[in-house]
Amino acid sequence: MTTDVLGSPVKRVEDPRFITGKGRYLDDIQMTGMTYMAILRSPYANANIRSIDTSAAKAMPGVILVLTGADVPYNPLPMAWPAGGSSGVQNNINMPRALATDDVKWTGEGVAAVIAETPEQAADAVEVVHVDWEPLPAVVDTEGATQPGAPQLHENAPNNVVFVWTVGDKAGTDAAVDAAEVVVRQRIVNQRLIPNPMEVRGDIGLYNPGTDEYTVWMSSQTPHIQRLLLTAFVTGIPEHKVRCISPDVGGAFGTKIFCYADMALVMLASKLIGGRPVKWVETRRENYQSTTHGRDHVTYLEIAGKRDGEVTGLRVKTYANLGGRLSTIGPGVPTTLYARVLAGCYKIPNVYCEVTGVYTNTTFVDAYRGAGRPEATYVIERAMDLFAAEIGMDRAAVRRKNFIAPDAFPYDNPSGLGTAVNGEKIYIDSGNYEPALNKALMTVGYDDLDKAKAEARTRGKHLGLGLSTYIEVCGVAPSKWIGAVGEGWGAAMWESANLKVHLTGKVILTMGTQPQGQGHETTYSQIIASELGLAMDDIIVQHSDTLGTPFGYGSYGSRTSSVGSTAAIKAAGKVREKARRYAAHMLEASVDDIEVVGAEYRVKGSPEKKKTLQEIAFALDLGFSLPEGMEPYLDETAYHDTPNCTWPFGTHIAVVEVDEDTGKVDLVRYVAVDDVGNKINPMIVDGQLHGGIAQGVGQALWEEAIYGDDGQLLSGSMLDYALPRASWMPNLELDETVTPSPVNPIGVKGVGEAGTIASTAAVANAVIDALKPFGVRHLDMPFTAPKVWRAMQSQEVRS
């Protein structure tokens, strides 16, 4: 038995069920009387619905119920995060309905739903729902949709503009750019991605006619939020009559944060068919069309500075594609989560960014791992390379020269929340960027880069190296950010924990956060074991069920380890304090004389007079003898609102080789030095980095959601969308620096997104470095062989 587990790479307590096939994901849940739902999806990207005839479907074998938009008296799915919130930005909002009634805005928007005895019968019946369509011209191009003459999607959104949001000092930045010795300009595209958790989404709705209550199982990152949104906004069912449960979730990466039509449909359908359970599990093709996508920016960047390498200004204009209608937090991602960290880890005095949100006839776009911050990192890290190339300075040296100095914290970033209108300031609280850069350069052998390039040439390869020195804002978020600035969820972002020490001394921690593979059951157990001096075996972590867990905002934005853990630590502190007071009662000592050593509560100076936490819990939970004013049971709840976000940083370096004959790019080395503060479990931290890096590499090299001009999703299946495979990835070389975060008691920062935020830019910069001999200054991702080969043909090798 060991209780000294905080910071140790202990094996995960959730793994035994997963490695033996005993995980319980949504589709694994079977119930007596289960029915199955299938959804008819629009084959057109832009069309009016003249009429829908469901009579043939209703007559199909096994069909129990057919629903169209007319049968669903629902409000639209809520959009909870407008751009700029209450700070006065006009948002032209169009939200999806549970089922489309009059028109569809992307291929895959739901139009009708069939509930049948078997999944096959439901799928067959959907085929014969007849819709009289009036197809309309579509627009899919992010920038093109805002141009005159483009098809108009929504009456309230002229030129398909959702909003125009700005941040930073326009006049100052204009002046800095005008006065600069050097200005580099580049149009860059951050292509659309399909997130692809390996488990698709699904739900089961179960209505209880006896109590008029609903239970919804959902593959979700946010069961509490979904209960709130589904009741208060979508269905009007009272919040206390709905229970939401997330079973084991097979990956999510942001897509399972949001409120989806199917969640409401299974609830309604179960009631309409008298309380039989209704299961819906999307197919992978459906997932590609109707679960959220990520990224999709077109950006015009201008970076200004001096020939000595000092950057003096950054001016950025971005078009962000949000799809045909808005997803739950769609507008928040390319605005506050993006432009507020646009200057990265650099002290750039003048920063200005304008973001235009755009409607197109495509699947809605929302947060995907990193959410805005990978896009920002891509802009600034490409900009730094472009600037270095322009002035002929070493890329690492330019970065070093512009780093925010270690003594400049707390740092008021010019596009950050320090500048928010009427907002309370949020500073970058800590950082020390140069040691991470130096370590990464040393590991990769930066000084020998020319030699490595020459050696690669002897093998017919062009070697390139790319740097990404990133910061990210995570551990979201202080509720004052949302309350004062009007940015963020239309709700707060604190977190919650309840800790019970039961009569037998066994401990249950229930959390409002919601894992999707991060190992929360392990890391929270490590924390509580170390806080209370217990064995991990004596602790169980529960989550994911609105019945019996305190309200929580769920897991995304790398928030669990900072915000969730602090709630758990506070709850443990309350338990310890009550146990100490009760120990004093048991030992007939004064409370001030009780000291806590591990799980022992001792009288100072007479260590033989002591009680263990288990003894205290036993007596206190029985409550036969209670001191004046003390309630029985060792059961404490804590809510934690974080005073700041956390600010991880680091340097990632990618080394690629481009084949001179084919243009094929191989990632041959990947070095990452990350500063995520202290670590609860370093093994899990490394795993998060590995996975995050692979997703970012995927964007740089292979992944791209492609639409035809008519709005058909051409990359519509796993056959057509290139996800990273094992043989395409190298082993990853990880290292660290440790600058503890000051905002939580254990100094952690969160690591779910860091890898993805950093890696795309590192790989892109490496490929473009490899193509330098061909005069290539910039190329848009993904760097597929045909694209790279064409770029290589554009100019003869110079060296």
Binding site: K11, G251, Q695
Partner: protein, 166 residues
């Protein structure tokens, strides 16, 4: 119209009545309740559904149940000796070769097939052998490490007793 199919699943003969269009993965998951085998795609790309058919790894979403009639199927539920873990399972646990766990059963079944035919694979050989299994969580680094470790455990011929897994 249904047909009678007899499979030997994890050592136990099972008779099931299936529609001809029923996939092996559906029969395993829905008719036999063996939900450790997962479905991650509809185009035979992801490998989450990998099981052994007569000892060789197959994607069970790509085999009809009627094609498996008379054959021997091993799923993730049949990998571990009673109360213990197969060396590959133990290595995935020790090396943090999984996060959400959704790809894991398929990965383990593919790894077992590899190590059967190649007990001492290089990292490259491991990476190629699991090319048909997509993992979105781990970046594969720790999966490769786990399979490497499992290979060495299996070569050493040491059983993994249940107690060692605690």
């Amino acid at each position: 119209m249904t047909e009678q199919v007899r499979l030997t699943v994890n050592g136990v003969p099972r008779d099931v009545e299936v529609e001809p269009r029923r996939l092996l993965v559906q029969t395993l998951r829905e008719d036999l309740g063996l939900t450790g085998t997962h479905v991650g795609c509809d185009t035979s790309q992801c490998g989450a559904c990998t099981v052994h058919l007569d000892g060789r790894a197959v994607k069970s979403c790509t085999v009809l149940a009627i094609q498996a009639d008379g054959h021997v199927v091993t799923t993730i539920e049949g990998m571990a000796p009673d109360g213990g873990l197969h060396a590959i399972q133990a290595a995935f646990w020790a090396k943090h070769g999984l996060q959400c766990g959704f790809c894991t059963p398929g990965m383990i079944m593919s790894a077992a097939d590899l190590l059967e035919s190649n007990p001492d694979p290089t990292d490259d050989e491991i990476r190629h052998a699991i090319e048909g299994n997509i993992c979105r969580c781990t970046g594969y680094h720790n999966i490769v490490a786990a399979i490497r470790e499992a290979a060495s455990t299996l070569r050493a011929g040491t059983d993994v007793p249940a107690a060692a897994n605690a």
